[in-house]
Symmetry: C2
Subunit: 243 residues, 2 copies
């Protein structure tokens, strides 16, 4: 059983409704933490600090990436965050501004806020073995608009195989229900962390990719209501690796 985009949006909305009381800050903290835990579990190396380039998009998927960056730093990684349109986005949504502030001021993480030229972006990609795609999530609908995000996704496709590409919740550009349809940019991530519950497009991941789920927000009562089969997390674990 996998979630379609309508159900994913509905669950997100209901989690934050007055009836259930979750706040965006809580959900994003736990989601971003799950991303960092799963990346760390899968790719942890004892050989010193590991550099990771995190690309944050304009919405909540980007916010998850910002939180993920902080926890990875706490776990000993060396993240750099690329957050195009940061000024506009953090003005519109001050909480994203707070997330950036914590990254920069508390943890000394470099957050690139201006739009990088193709050459400069290439230099960053060349410099990293791990790149996180937290550009678009479950609310994205193709086709992708022309502009900075589309250029980034094309660059990621162009560089396929040069680094591990790690997608958060949905590979950016994919249709959440139909996967990499012909009018989508064909990212092919090596790793996906589904948040709350896997979406329909996760079945289009390439054979050797790694798939985790995190964000244990769904109670048994809620699962029943939404006809979801609960995932079999280990007791005390915040993430689960899906076969």
């Amino acid at each position: 059983m996998l979630l379609n985009s309508t159900k994913a949006a509905l669950i997100d909305k209901i989690l934050m409704s007055p009836e259930y009381g979750y706040t965006l800050e809580q959900l994003m903290e736990l989601a971003g933490l799950s991303c960092a835990l799963s990346i760390n579990q899968e790719y942890f190396s004892n050989q010193g600090n590991q550099k990771i380039f995190i690309i944050a998009g304009p919405g909540n998927n980007g916010g998850d990436g910002l939180v993920c960056a902080r926890h990875l730093k706490i776990f000993g990684w060396e993240p750099i965050v690329y957050y195009p349109n940061a000024e506009k986005l953090t003005t519109k949504q001050p909480f994203f501004g707070s997330l950036v502030k914590t990254l920069e001021e508390m943890y000394g993480i470099c957050v690139i806020k201006e739009t990088l030229s193709a050459e400069k972006l290439q230099t960053h990609l060349d410099d990293h073995k791990f790149v996180v795609d937290s550009i678009f999530g479950f609310s994205f609908k193709p086709p992708m608009k022309q502009g900075v995000y589309q250029e980034i996704v094309e660059k990621l496709v162009e560089n396929e195989g040069k680094f591990k590409l790690l997608s958060i919740d949905s590979p950016s550009g994919w249709d959440v229900d139909k996967g990499p349809t012909s009018n989508c940019h064909k990212l092919d991530p090596d790793f996906l962390i589904s948040l709350t519950y896997p979406k329909l497009n996760s079945k289009f991941l390439k054979p050797n990719s790694v798939h985790y789920c995190g964000g244990r927000f769904i109670s048994s009562k809620f699962a029943e209501k939404f006809e979801i089969i609960p995932l079999n997390y280990d007791k005390g674990s915040l993430i689960i690796k899906i076969d």
Copy 2:
């Protein structure tokens, strides 16, 4: 090196200052999660659901307890929350109301909001092998005022040894700097989870007690600024057991 109460309060204040950008929702989520993770790590049993009675005080320590209850439930425990003065507290601080809402509506956790008689409280204590003291934290200064919290603490002292008593951040009633001074009610917890960093009073724990720390909010830069020696967490771990 241990934190005194002044430094603990200062660190908390600065974490949530506009300079560093943390919100109460984020800190409380991570703090309460650390409590649940450490309790689960220490006392996890495979023999079915484990009942746990969580007593939440009027301030942020109580809020940590509310978050802890949720995560314990997600991990498979069976928490009951005792939250005296709930109506007054959640009116004053709506976020606490949201935390209660999530517990009740999403997870079906029983939250007792009225003040229990001594007899009824005793019945609950008799029914549990684990009791969480999230009544007062690092901002408590003795003596304890007469009233419901003092009565609860006296009841906990009276029942010593009948259940595992688990304190969050500071044993309630203890002076944060001086420990269980003569004018403090002498709780003697079996388990303490220090949040952010251990306080001075943690050195007064009884010999066989268990001590964890969680809430990894202190960056190396911040540690230097406050002359704190960072704890040696395992990479990817949110809690650490302290010898």
